[in-house]
Subunit: 203 residues, 2 copies
Amino acid sequence: MLTKRERTRLSILDTAAALASAQGLESLSIGGLATKTGMSKSGLFSHFGSREELQLATVDHAADIFAREVVVPGRSAPRGMARIWALLDGFLDYIERGVFAGGCFFATTSIEFKDRPGPVRDRIGEHVTQWRSYIEHAVEQAQELGELDPEADPRRIGFELNAFVQSAKSQHAFFGDDRAFVDARAAVRDRLESLRAKERLTV
Amino acid sequence: MLTKRERTRLSILDTAAALASAQGLESLSIGGLATKTGMSKSGLFSHFGSREELQLATVDHAADIFAREVVVPGRSAPRGMARIWALLDGFLDYIERGVFAGGCFFATTSIEFKDRPGPVRDRIGEHVTQWRSYIEHAVEQAQELGELDPEADPRRIGFELNAFVQSAKSQHAFFGDDRAFVDARAAVRDRLESLRAKERLTV
DNA sequence: CAAAGAATAGAACGAGCGTGCTCTTTTTGT
DNA sequence: ACAAAAAGAGCACGCTCGTTCTATTCTTTG
């Protein structure tokens, strides 16, 4: 069983991640978070020791949630086309389910910290890079299995597919527009089909 | 000729837009902006009357710059495929040229204000919507001219094309990765080609 | 060139921020 | 059940923020 400290800490981080996904990590004030969780400023503060440590812990906590909600389910799908689709569809699903109050934690924070050098920025970058590499790797596997055009550049395919889902996320976050999900799924499906068809012709 | 007030105001807004494109509109502090422009807090403040007015003026000023740098040149290209390309290529060009210090003003601020209701959010939304509608309209014109598959949904094509350039911008902003521009231009060109070819087959 | 008016500086305010400190309450191990 | 230890509350600090007020310095115009 977790100690009280750990339980409290996790509950704080849940609130922090939800709040930061909406308003950004810089808007995370110790006082505001304390009010939201029903604690005193100093009581909450003692869990982290500094504001920056709180931000880092929040980033890592959000990454855990993202892994649990998107990456793990996606990777349990069979290799190849199925897994590519599972990752991207799973991503859109996680946005639609509203796992984070403000849409996508890493969308908000990666833009927020793009020009703020430091450990927080670095940590965010690691997680974003990892996501991109998951997609790229899934594309490579599909090529190895002969399901996807071997001539295609995995990085570029990854770029395009990720662009669709990220763009849907942005559009939904700002305008609340659900058609973005329809557009994104259709765009991903069409793009994958075009890459599969090409291979069939050459076989 | 412009009055001194207007000249000073414009110079402040240039600095403000550059700063906000990097750090966001909420990080625009009166004091910081005063230091950056070599003015006193109160002297600068008197140009706007409130922080929110400063933010609104900054948004509009950034929109003026965007129009001058991207929209006007793009619209001067001949209708049809050429104009679609001019708009998207011009957008990428404007990011590459570093017109705004922090990449793209509206990318930063639209995410920042997605969950902050109020006049600033509304103003940002207007400009973003306008950009999307320019692209969509250019696609429709290409269809009318018979250059682009009339079966295609202009909104979805607009979504896809915009997704490519926006994604390149994000990737460049955070990672400084110039390959994103290569990927994005290739993705846009391929997508436009695929829509042109389809039409040729049916003619 | 002087008077009128616009533009800016300087100081001060109340509020909220991150962060230490000390004291009290709650949890834990025996 | 009780002592030891952990967790949290309450308060105070120096700082920066947006904003206001008053005084001073520039521009413009007759």
